[in-house]
């Protein structure tokens, strides 16, 4: 995937303690780590924005070892259930967590440790399978997207091209590595010999901004909520002379904020690029070129280089008239192979053949610029994370079997309707804990009865009025 040796002594990453790591370091230490693994197999990677995490990920990808990317802070019960379903050969995790897991520690580097597990199945894997990543939310679903080496390479090339990335870039991490958008920042910048500034600090911390200035960060990535926070922090007043570009994905940004940031970028000679993607397309499918960001604010954009968009109506016919809503379909080499829900699925080959029905409803204008107007599937984006409403209902009903519950709402604000008024607080913290999302995103509302039609189907339209 990457040819680290061509960048040699150039710095690949800087940690938030100010330590630098060269490309040669990633190559050499990566070889050692891969040798400790010793064969093509599945490794669970518990990710942080740290050098250990980065070393593991790059070593595995470059040596044909398949990482399954997880948040280091993932709910322990969920992690155990995933271990049971996939029975990976190894775990790569922060060394302070070694004692929590069974198995033998066989290697250690950069504050990370490699554990050889006892309960393994070594399920056969499709040759092209490169990595497994979640569709972003974690409602307990063991569903991971299967991405191929070709997917990673194709998407990396497209992104490098349309964002005009080169070796002088210094992006600061604002998203987790186990999140497809965060990972694409890493993939693309390592491909051009740039320097990643690695930190788990958030933009609500002084340390983040100190690092930003000291390390002369040139770009950052954000989900819609990131830009709401930046607005509150009066970001426009900050002096950031080295900052060149800001990207946004992970859901639709409020048009007013899109306009504000596009105006700021234009005035300050920076770029603000709104983008669109899904883990099912590796990361990126569309972007709004920064030169029309202001003129077309609120829009999603056009397909990335090498990709194509079209819309289909309910009969599956292609829509050719502007301003007509249909389901967005994407075609390109970055369309992932399919899903895995258990170890036995790792042998599956390409099930999509480069074609993805996104599940998003969209339209295009007379200039061919697309806008997202809604969703076919029942899910919300909460702080950039896809959270499936049906899965959340199942999660609650499994825990509270005597309860009727329905989930609805809008992005960043889910409403959970329940039929037991004594469990409002309890359900709120249960869902927040399981999804690892801030509890304020979940509003639990009591209803005597869930509105249903005669056939017993939930009347979502009625519920949406109550949200």
């Amino acid at each position: 995937m990457w040819n680290f040796s061509q960048y040699g002594a150039k710095i690949a990453a800087v940690s938030d303690e100010g330590k630098s790591y060269s490309y040669a370091f990633l190559a050499q230490q990566g070889d050692k780590l891969a040798a400790a693994v010793g064969k093509r197999c599945l490794v669970f990677c518990l990710c942080r924005n740290s050098i250990g995490s980065l070393l593991g990920y790059t070593a595995f990808i470059n040596h044909g070892i398949v990482p399954l990317m997880l948040d280091e802070q993932l709910d322990k019960d969920l992690l155990v259930s995933f271990l049971h379903l996939y029975k990976p050969d190894f775990l790569w995790l922060p060394e302070n967590r070694v004692c929590e897991f069974e198995g033998e520690e066989v290697y250690r580097d950069c504050n990370y440790a490699l554990i050889k597990r006892l309960d393994t199945a070594s399920y056969p894997m499709y040759n092209e399978l490169a990595l497994l990543i979640t569709t972003s939310g974690s409602t307990g679903s063991p569903k991971f997207v299967r991405q191929s080496y070709k997917n990673l390479e194709a998407n990396t090339h497209s992104i490098v091209e349309y964002l005009h990335l080169n070796g002088t870039e210094r992006p600061i991490t604002t998203l987790p590595m186990n999140y497809t958008y965060g990972l694409s920042v890493i993939n693309t910048h390592l491909a051009v010999g740039a320097t990643l500034i690695l930190t788990d600090k958030t933009l609500m911390q002084r340390e983040f901004w100190t690092l930003f200035s000291e390390q002369k960060a040139t770009s950052f990535a954000g989900v819609p909520y990131t830009y709401e926070m930046l607005d509150k922090l009066m970001f426009f007043r900050r002096k950031l002379p080295y900052l060149k570009s800001m990207t946004q994905a992970g859901g639709k940004i409020l048009p007013i904020l899109h306009q504000k940031f596009a105006e700021y970028a234009q005035k300050e000679g920076k770029e603000f690029v709104v983008m669109y993607g899904q883990a099912e397309a590796t990361a990126r499918m569309g972007y709004l070129p920064s030169n029309i960001s202001l003129e077309k604010f609120g829009c999603m954009g056009i397909a990335i280089p090498g990709g194509k968009f079209h819309l289909i109506d309910e009969q599956g016919q292609t829509i050719t008239t502007p301003e007509t809503v249909g389901e967005l379909v994407y075609e390109g080499d970055n369309v992932a192979l399919g899903y895995a829900e258990k170890g036995e699925d790792l042998i599956k080959e390409d099930e999509r053949h480069g074609l993805l029905q996104t599940g998003d409803m969209a339209k295009f204008d007379k200039d061919g610029v697309y806008s997202i107007v809604g969703r076919k599937k029942r899910f919300l984006k909460i702080f950039g994370n896809r959270v499936n409403l049906d899965e959340t209902e199942r999660l609650i009903k499994t825990q509270y079997q005597d309860l009727d519950c329905v989930c609805a709402g809008k992005d960043d604000a889910m409403t959970i309707f329940i039929t037991d008024d004594k469990r409002i607080k309890e359900i709120q913290s249960f869902v927040a804990n399981k999804t690892h999302l801030n509890f304020t995103a979940f509003h639990v509302q009591y209803l005597k009865q869930i509105p249903k039609n005669e056939a017993g189907k939930v009347l979502y339209a009625e519920l949406n009025k109550l949200c």
Binding site: M204, Q205, K232, H436, A441
Partner: protein
């Protein structure tokens, strides 16, 4: 309500915790005090004391104790 009561209440509301827990709290000690929760806390404090916090003060508000120092700049005494 006294200032310290109002101040403590803002933490309790923002993170859904009791007063005892609020008094020792630091950023990221509990899942509720992440960057999203931080925005909520700032909103609670701004409303309770009818102030607008400066961005520098928002990013410095790293603990229950530190917040009191910060609010002193807005002529709020405890």
């Amino acid at each position: 309500m006294s200032n310290i009561e109002k101040y403590t209440q803002a933490f309790c509301q923002a993170f859904d915790i009791d007063e005892e827990a609020a008094k020792k709290l630091k950023f990221q000690d509990i899942p509720a005090w992440d960057s999203v929760g931080h925005m909520g806390l700032v909103a609670q404090l701004e409303e309770a004391f009818d102030i607008m916090l400066e961005p520098d003060d928002i990013v410095d508000l790293s603990s229950f104790e530190k917040g009191q120092e910060i609010l002193a700049k807005y002529d709020i005494t405890f």
